[in-house]
């Protein structure tokens, strides 16, 4: 990827997303949700999307509204059902959205494989279960494995904590989750950060996502709770 571009707004950072695009959305529950970028995707208008994300929206959050408005053709995720996943539940039951349910570790490893140039891999997870039905399998060293393929994306939407001038990222606590692997798996990685800091101020030993994986960054002052804790 070429050097990171800094954008004045989430919509600018997002850029063009084509109808039918595969979009990865980071986050696990509330932690690491790139809320402003998904809000921008709502505004941008692309439809017939394939969305790869661990969950399928909560309440009326931007991903839930994307589903509600019929913009998502297919969800690839591990845990769509939540106490407040009304919009997904309804779209799924009516057949408006297709679901590819993937065990969370296979989801993560398939995303990692896409970024790492691995063509396919054998995993023991899921063997003998309905989620491996119809998949190639093989016994290796006495353990049954299923063959799984990478999940590539056109664009990844990720939230990190800080970025420097070349797009190096650090995250905060369990908000790291899918960010590092999704930025690597997508042709274009768009990141919202709480703060952009000068190049040279992030410890090179502690960079989690090197700037090579990052295409666009937008600074969103964000959550007051977090900002407060950081300065405490």
């Amino acid at each position: 990827m070429s050097a990171a571009r800094f954008a004045p707004s989430a919509l600018d950072a997002l850029g063009d997303v084509a109808d039918g695009a595969t979009v990865m959305i980071g986050g696990f529950g509330p932690a690491g949700q790139p809320t402003d970028l998904v809000e921008a995707l709502l505004e941008q208008g692309a439809s017939d999307l394939v969305v790869v994300s661990n969950n399928a929206g909560n309440g009326d959050d931007p991903l839930a509204r994307l589903i509600q408005r019929g913009r998502v053709a297919k969800m690839v995720c591990s845990f769509p059902r939540q106490v407040d996943s009304w919009h997904f539940d309804s779209a799924y039951r009516s057949g408006a959205v297709e679901l590819e349910l993937v065990p969370q570790g296979n989801l993560a490893e398939r995303i990692r494989a896409a970024g790492a140039g691995i063509g396919a891999f054998y995993t023991p997870t899921g063997f003998g279960t309905p989620l491996a039905e119809g998949k190639e399998h093989r016994r290796i060293d006495g353990v049954d494995h299923v063959l799984e393929y990478p999940i590539h994306a056109d664009v990844a939407l990720v939230r990190a904590d800080r970025a420097d001038g070349v797009g190096n990222l650090v995250y905060r606590k369990t908000a790291r989750n899918f960010g590092p692997i999704m930025t690597a798996a997508a042709r274009r990685a768009v990141v919202q950060v709480r703060e952009v800091v000068p190049t040279g101020t992030l410890d090179p030993e502690a960079v989690v996502t090197p700037g090579i994986y990052v295409d666009a960054v937008v600074e969103i002052a964000g959550n007051a709770t977090i900002a407060m804790k950081e300065s405490a």
Binding site: F28, G29, P30, A31, G32, N54, S78, F79, P80, R81, S85, F88, D89, Y92, R93, L99, L101, V102, P103, Q104, G105, N106, L107, A108, E109, I111, R112, T123, P124, T125, G126, F127, G128, T129, P130, L131, D144, Y171, R172, K173, T174, A175, R176, N177, F178, G179, P180, I181, V208, N223, T225, I226, K229
Partner: protein
Amino acid sequence: MTTTETAARRAPLTKAQIAARVADEIPDGSYVNLGIGLPTLVADHLATGRGITLHTENGMLGMGPSPEPDDVDPDLVNAGKIPVTELPGASYFHQADSFAMMRGGHIDVCVLGAFQVSATGDLANWSTGAPDAVPAVGGAMDLAIGARRTVVMMNLLTKDGRPKLVERCTLPLTGVGCVSRIYTELAIIDVGPDGAHVVELFGTTHAELEKMLGLTLGPTLGRTR
């Protein structure tokens, strides 16, 4: 063990007692993952001096208890999306690294809930099989087969009285032959290639249990770990 305690053992265990027993049988120094639901109770019974480290599959080792309301941090949650805290010696990692840790056999003990467990250790805990249900699996399949030792904590019977330890699971499987031991209110039972063997009984007899479950159970093997 005092006589009073021995007598108490003859009654079915409460949930807290089951959790305490699971906690008691986790070796000191272990890395442990506690599944969503009942197994989270085990955390309350792990004494801090035992060097047991909790893993949460959303990307953390060294997870501490829930925070005070004022200290809730939206960036720090467990696999159930519940706010947690960070203990000294904690570390964070991304999803691929977290599941590599599980799949690679680095977690010593995983405690899971279950809808059904078979006598040979198959586990069904992610889907009730209801045709209109919205499915969700999360990390269940990875946890089931990844840990060095996977044990189940559950009630032995469903709310309508059907056994959850069965000859063969009828619900969609989570993993094949992955469970070593089940902890229930009436019995601790080992499962595996040789079938189900009673480890200890609480308020029931071997014969009553076999009748209740409709299963032939191997002889009581004594309290082993």
